[in-house]
Point group: D2
Chain length 350, copies 4
Amino acid sequence: MPNMRILNFKSDNEAPAHEKVVDALVQANDGYATAYAADEWSLRLDQAFSDYFETDVSVLPLATGTAANSIILGTLSPPWGAIYCHPNAHIHNDEGGAPEFYTHGAKLCPVCGENGKLDAAILDETITQAGAHGVHNVAPAVVSITQATECGTAYTADEITSISEVAKKHGLPMHMDGARFANAVSYLEASPAEITWRAGIDVLAFGGTKNGAMDAEAIIVFGNRPDWLEGMHRRRKRGGHLLSKMRFVSAQLLALLENGLGHTLAGQANLKAQKLAKELSAHQHIALVWPVEANEVFIETSEAMFQHLEANGVAFHRWPGYRNVGRLVCSFQTPDEAIDALIHLTKTGP
Amino acid sequence: MPNMRILNFKSDNEAPAHEKVVDALVQANDGYATAYAADEWSLRLDQAFSDYFETDVSVLPLATGTAANSIILGTLSPPWGAIYCHPNAHIHNDEGGAPEFYTHGAKLCPVCGENGKLDAAILDETITQAGAHGVHNVAPAVVSITQATECGTAYTADEITSISEVAKKHGLPMHMDGARFANAVSYLEASPAEITWRAGIDVLAFGGTKNGAMDAEAIIVFGNRPDWLEGMHRRRKRGGHLLSKMRFVSAQLLALLENGLGHTLAGQANLKAQKLAKELSAHQHIALVWPVEANEVFIETSEAMFQHLEANGVAFHRWPGYRNVGRLVCSFQTPDEAIDALIHLTKTGP
Amino acid sequence: MPNMRILNFKSDNEAPAHEKVVDALVQANDGYATAYAADEWSLRLDQAFSDYFETDVSVLPLATGTAANSIILGTLSPPWGAIYCHPNAHIHNDEGGAPEFYTHGAKLCPVCGENGKLDAAILDETITQAGAHGVHNVAPAVVSITQATECGTAYTADEITSISEVAKKHGLPMHMDGARFANAVSYLEASPAEITWRAGIDVLAFGGTKNGAMDAEAIIVFGNRPDWLEGMHRRRKRGGHLLSKMRFVSAQLLALLENGLGHTLAGQANLKAQKLAKELSAHQHIALVWPVEANEVFIETSEAMFQHLEANGVAFHRWPGYRNVGRLVCSFQTPDEAIDALIHLTKTGP
Amino acid sequence: MPNMRILNFKSDNEAPAHEKVVDALVQANDGYATAYAADEWSLRLDQAFSDYFETDVSVLPLATGTAANSIILGTLSPPWGAIYCHPNAHIHNDEGGAPEFYTHGAKLCPVCGENGKLDAAILDETITQAGAHGVHNVAPAVVSITQATECGTAYTADEITSISEVAKKHGLPMHMDGARFANAVSYLEASPAEITWRAGIDVLAFGGTKNGAMDAEAIIVFGNRPDWLEGMHRRRKRGGHLLSKMRFVSAQLLALLENGLGHTLAGQANLKAQKLAKELSAHQHIALVWPVEANEVFIETSEAMFQHLEANGVAFHRWPGYRNVGRLVCSFQTPDEAIDALIHLTKTGP
């Protein structure tokens, strides 16, 4: 039986951080630094991300993606707002009600679509019908998409633009949950600008933790929105997310941006997932549930096969809400031998 | 063209109050009375409703059903709770986010079912699957049903029991939104006890306003739950619903209970709706959307017919979320001539 | 022993409503009326109060003053706001945390001053020092005063202006809790305009219930503030305060305005309090705690005297936070014989 | 002019982390680890802290003290609760309203006392008088103290016990904000047990960040309280504080506990503060505001002296709410030469 620790396909957040991120963090531990994100590392973030996105942005570093998404939504939506997202959205299913907490009770309204992506036409119809009864209804407030999606696919710039146009038509801002943003950039071979502000995104939760960091995420606000920034800074403090020694978060973010490290790591993860998907889909009893575009592979197979894999030390998630669907995630750290071992196991399985 | 005011089928809350309710309120205006629900009228409520329900209950009077439902849900659900209700539920669609406000952000989770009623099997499966990911998911907290339902139907005692059994199996309390409770009692020819606590209901929002009162609702807690009562009393005050001169609300509730006035009025309203439904369903271009059991008639017909009715002064609601569906509501005050005039209009329509 | 019911000096909210208010309510029960404050009575409020205040105002009727104050504060203050008020303020001490609920956690910051009135200089210094540490502090958000005050005094127009000037200097809006607004108007012989918008008040919680109504209060917004109104309408619904049959609240408010009924009743209440104060202060063992300007008399006397009064059926409040202080409130209904009996009792006491 | 960077007396959270903490973090970056605090480091915390406290405790690691305090208070207090703390308390002044956010609007009620410590007698009287008006008042809910205090003093075990006895008498739990817990332990030469659970503390926010960590704090629950733990786990997730790679936080905490590293570092910081205090207090124009017991020195001196120090590169905080008071903080990293340079500057000053 292969080493169980290397057969870990549970999540990219179970992988270790990249050594360059760790190095950056160690180097940031040099002498005194102003507390509460007024240190030199944190102060460099606006420029570093403005370069990355080819436009002026404002950046708030913090330690978790749940906090980033929730602080953004709390700022963009009033407590009586409706936030439109895919039924599979992480903010809807996996954050324990954090968006509801930070928005003081906004309602997350699922809008369907193929492959984990909102359907622009359904979105338009949904928003058009909403709010017909004035204060008796919650008020349309935000459209939220995830890039890469929770189904492991990536929105093209055109797809995002179609959705943004619907949002803008109704006067709503666009939020992007970018927990796996680098994986989408890598797959699409698009620039970060193309799939964000140029496609109508207003605020991005930029993910570093799944991309090789220890605990580093950032709220990226495109354009000049002092009103939003005030609300975000207040909510970050009020939520307990203004780390006193923020330099250690910011240094990680800077490391990911330097020389495209984050993109490199995401590309490696994607490549591993592609390889895994190709081999698995060749198995006669295994089907891919959704196109594999980022670093996640969703497979549908028999219960016997799942049990066979589990019995042999493969760690992965049975996907909630679906029958006989499992999720396998690759990171830049996933060893090729783990992929080979997994493939081998499927061939010797039931 | 008939008098527009008598062709009002918009809602039972547009009808005037019954004269006996008004008399009770005028009589309550006699001399001094202790403030904040410690007056003699309010103090009689526990006994009066205990008699009505044939068991010991605790009663909190207040002025709106939205407040009653929301205070109950805020007490039964933690902020990270999941509240299961029908997709058509008033708490989900029509209260402007009040339940989310009073629960500090709980999530309302729709559970489908025919004719506005939760399906017990779907409910069981939904709760069973929920919460699999621990704190990442919201926690199953409350099952909420509406009696009579938002589709104008009424749950039988057996139907309620089936749902309650699922709730109890999962350790969840049962809430009943009884905005039109008397209409259900009247239709079912059941005792109030049979379709509440004997069928597993833990807390009821008892509706008076649509039943002939001016503004009188009550939270009814079955059994001995001092912990819930503490939370409800605190939330009623904190929500601004502890009226200083509560006697005027409580006197209305007592009037509805006296000599079965509420049941009588609900019976009259139901009868009118039955008559209306019977006649309308005989029309070849009009269909009933759901069985007419309480005092609401939902019809599906052509856009031309709806416009014809509207042009002739019939007031009713186009039902949101459905195409070509209109809702016609009767109250004890609906004149027979209004019903006749409406029927006549459909016959002379397109 | 005199009739205990007529020796009630506990609160003006224990008195019955005035018959003209009751008549108005009965008359409003005529036929159908559009629900949710779109009825003809509610629609007349903007004009009626604009006439009353000699300027354009927007009015939201509702049933309790706690709700009025809290909805206003929730609109004017962000969740991280500081609301400056007198240590004795009703919003700070007596609303069970309702302002904190509707603001989602704003902080009420006491600012001292004589006779229940904020001291403008202390207020200025307090606000100037607040917020020095940015997001680590709560942000100055609202200045709130009560008219008449919780000590039974009334702010003059000049006093209000001094406070408003401080608020405006710091960019903060002014809220007035007017639970006993008519008593202040009557005492000051000022116009409603002079002691509100002309003195810098932005939003008033207008009290009807203590002024002879059953349950009728109103949010009065001075000037053109569509942003505030949107927030207030949403919060009124979300708080469960949008009564479906709002006509019954609005009719009461209109009755109070008609022919100056509210002012007349407040004048009567004040006069009775003046008489009571004059007689009590002549007693060698009784002292007035604060000047008696509205309808409340605060006395300091011996424990023996308080027990003597209580033993003889005088109902009043021992005032929390003070030793040997009792509050006696008069309403337009307080019988002269009750005042005489009370005076007599003090003379025969210990 | 001396190097400005070494004259940093602003806060212990501007100092770098200790190298052993950094080493522990680097070593934790080894291979895969289960996400969301189910990793081996996090799983060792309960035992490690149970050894440290000589009793069974439950531990929730997280990244900030503001979050730790707020999650605790949100669990111990209902939304309508009163939390008693010193007027100088960090939770009251410096967390931007985070406790109000996590409690959904509880009220922080200042209770005075010398040297930053609650006075047990005043506390008793305050709680006794609170809540006299039932739901109209907020409900006494929690007593919170800070160890070491915000004035740089430390509660003795007896002092804590006196306060706890008052709290228990009123049925309230005790919270300790231990941002500088190790400094108090070191000063008092007490065991961690003596000044926590043995003295009546129920829950501790254990501070690591100011004690040499990068970003590591912990909620410590004494005794067997599954109800509290459920609420804390839910709130940690819902607040966005359940880091996916929690191992990096937990490894820091373990490093601080190992061989008493945290105590050693706190002892060094205290010693430096003692030296600084001794020398400064010998200056004829400088007075110590409070006894120097932990690692903070509060001095009162002339504006000219403060400006002299600032002009020469000494970084410190002018203390808000006081005139001519400055705070100087030492950490284990404060160089002796910085202290010498500061002393020298005061002697050459105005």
